[in-house]
């Protein structure tokens, strides 16, 4: 892979990752991510034709729990760490416009 990590690419990834970046960080991350990606590019040298991807260390599938009601957090417990709350709700800035 050729990977040119331009400032535009860094800003795009920052947007996807929801991390605000200033110009200095964009410059630094572009350089560092470029270095790391050049390093991981060595994987392209390995032939992986016909190799099944391995997402997990131990192959277990479909672990099902009994469909029985159990104890869960109360609203107060769940909201105890909320930066802002309104009764039983998390508070966020206005999402929809006035009109």
């Amino acid at each position: 892979m050729s990977n040119k990590i331009t400032p535009e690419v860094v800003r795009h990834i920052g947007k996807l990752a929801r991390i605000e970046l200033d110009d200095q960080q964009v410059e630094m991350l572009g350089r560092q991510l470029g270095d790391i990606l050049r390093y991981v590019d060595k994987l392209q040298a390995l032939n992986t034709d016909g190799v099944a991807p391995m997402a997990h260390a131990v192959e277990i599938h479909n672990v099902l729990a009994d469909d029985a009601p159990g104890q869960s957090l109360t609203a107060d417990e769940a909201l105890a760490n909320a930066p802002a709350r309104d009764n039983d709700f998390f508070m966020v800035p206005k999402v929809l416009g006035d009109s």
Binding site: R18, I19, L21, D35, V40
Partner: protein, 505 residues
């Protein structure tokens, strides 16, 4: 130094059950030591004095009325700060979670408390377990008790520093790419990463979910086995924890394994290795030979380490890990949004996306941002197949190598780290160089197998050197017995750092 601090965890437990001392007396000895030494070592983010005193009193009361208080009764244990506890804060050494109080307790912590352990406090770590030195902690770096100008390793560096510096009797850490074994090696203690699925991850703040495991960090192998007896086992709250019987790891610990077959991965013993570490590993191999072990060379071709023209090391396993782990991290850390819990920006946010982006920019440190960005990139449209899918295939090749090696070997023996403890700030400028501190430990997480690091000696600068013993899936019993064989035969056990900066007492 109080003599109680010199006992191993099991010795302390026996002294308490004989009535030679009490859980409270032991706890107070450790609290005093922490108050004297932790200013220099900075192993703890938070010492949980009240809760620890309550628990110690409970243990002593139980003993008074003749009740059996459990396998770890009265042992003061430190907990890595990414394990949730309903008391104290669980910060992951991050500004993001500076005031986070977990609504539930991690299963591994609940189990050691159930077994009578006294939780001393939460130990320092690289932020969100991302790092190999604790220098990425928002609280500042911990210090290696062997040399105060050097790092203790990471990410479980606070736990390692606390065990080596006698600021706790044993500790829990977590290991995603070497975060238990590497600091254990650098601080001269024992650290075990169990088989993926052996110990419940419930309540462990997630970093790389297909790689993370909780494990013990202790002064000797027997303590490690004792803690494993308590924390291993199935937990319905963690769907990846496996429902397999747990053997008694202490039962046959002292029985040598007859005809132990040891494989030496030739890829890990190349010329690139520090000569002192190479020699220490060769000496260890001789110890095993003298015990009748059968030693042979094996190959893990996809974990091989190449050195470039400038002496820089490179490894497929490290490359594979930094795709898989960061991809998982970018997803796991998406939960820190400034809405449900954790840091929220105080600047005015125009909309909800702005709120997320500013809160995350302020709450996360540089390395965490770097890994989230890298993980987001390798999962993003157009790059997913080339990076993420490719890495998952290479992961399979790495695991296949281990499967093949374990067809003819009981354990694999190799160094834990490429060098002894490095200096503070030595590797902070170049993220890649820091990643290479885990060059011998990382493929073990990708394969999911268990591995221990035990001390095998000291370098000419009086710094500990660690040896890694890797076992097959669920063969912690073999790993622990093989480790105990070396400890017994070599007499290299419970290394004590020099009394650096220690007040004369």
């Amino acid at each position: 130094m109080n003599n109680l601090l010199k006992l191993s965890a099991l010795e302390l437990k026996n002294a308490i059950s004989r009535g030679d001392t009490t859980a409270t007396e032991a706890l107070e000895a450790y609290l005093h030591e922490i108050s004297v030494q932790d200013g220099a070592l900075r192993a703890y983010n938070e010492v949980l004095v009240d809760e620890a005193r309550d628990q110690a009193r409970r243990i002593d009361d139980m003993r008074k009325i003749g009740e059996s208080p459990g396998l770890l009764a009265g042992i003061p244990i430190a907990i890595k700060n990414n394990l949730c506890t309903t008391w104290g804060r669980t910060t992951c050494s991050s500004k993001m979670l500076a005031n986070f109080r977990a609504p539930y307790t991690a299963t591994a912590v609940a189990r050691i408390r159930q077994a009578g352990a006294v939780v001393l406090g939460k130990t320092n770590m690289d932020e969100f377990a991302m790092g190999s030195s604790t220098e990425n902690s928002a609280h500042g770096a911990s210090v290696n008790p062997w040399d105060l100008s050097r790092v203790p390793g990471g990410s479980s560096g606070g736990s390692a520093s606390a065990v080596a510096g006698s600021l706790c009797s044993a500790a829990l850490g977590s290991d995603t790419g070497g975060s238990i074994r590497q600091p254990a090696a650098l601080c001269g203690i024992v650290g075990l990463k169990p088989t993926y699925g052996r110990v419940s991850r419930y309540g462990l703040v997630a970093y790389g979910s297909s790689l993370d495991q909780i494990g013990p960090m202790t002064r000797d192998v027997a303590d490690c086995a004792a803690v494993m007896n308590v924390i291993a086992g199935h937990d319905p709250a963690d769907a990846t924890s496996l429902d397999r019987p747990v053997p008694d790891y202490l039962a046959n610990l002292d029985e040598p394994i007859k005809g132990l077959r040891i494989g030496l991965p030739r890829e890990f013993l190349s010329d690139a290795l520090d000569p002192e570490i190479h020699r220490a590993i060769e000496n260890a191999v001789e110890v095993y030979r003298s015990l009748g072990a059968e030693v042979k060379e094996v190959s893990l071709p996809h974990s091989r380490i190449d050195s470039g023209a400038g002496g820089e090391l490179s490894s497929f396993a490290v490359a594979c890990y930094y795709i898989v782990a960061t991809a998982e991290a970018s997803s796991n850390l998406a939960r820190y949004d400034g809405v449900h819990y954790g840091h929220r920006t105080e600047r005015d946010a125009a909309d909800i996306i702005d709120l997320y982006s500013r809160s995350r920019a302020e709450g996360f440190g540089d390395e965490v941002k770097r890994r989230i960005m890298l993980g987001t990139y390798v999962l993003s449209s157009g790059y997913y197949d080339a990076y993420y899918l490719k890495a998952l295939k290479v992961r399979r090749l790495i695991k296949n190598d281990f499967d093949e090696a374990f067809e003819t070997c009981d354990i694999l023996l190799c160094p834990t780290t490429p060098s002894p403890a490095f200096k503070m700030n030595e590797k902070t400028a170049d993220p890649l160089e820091m990643y290479l501190a885990d060059i011998y430990t990382i493929s073990v997480n990708l394969a999911g197998v268990p591995a221990i690091s035990i001390p095998v000696g000291l370098s000419s600068r009086n710094l500990p050197i660690g040896m890694q013993l890797i076992g097959g899936v669920f063969r912690e019993d073999v790993v622990l017995r093989a480790a105990r064989m070396f400890e017994k035969a070599s007499g290299i056990c419970r290394l004590t750092p020099p009394p650096l900066g220690r007040d004369a007492e």
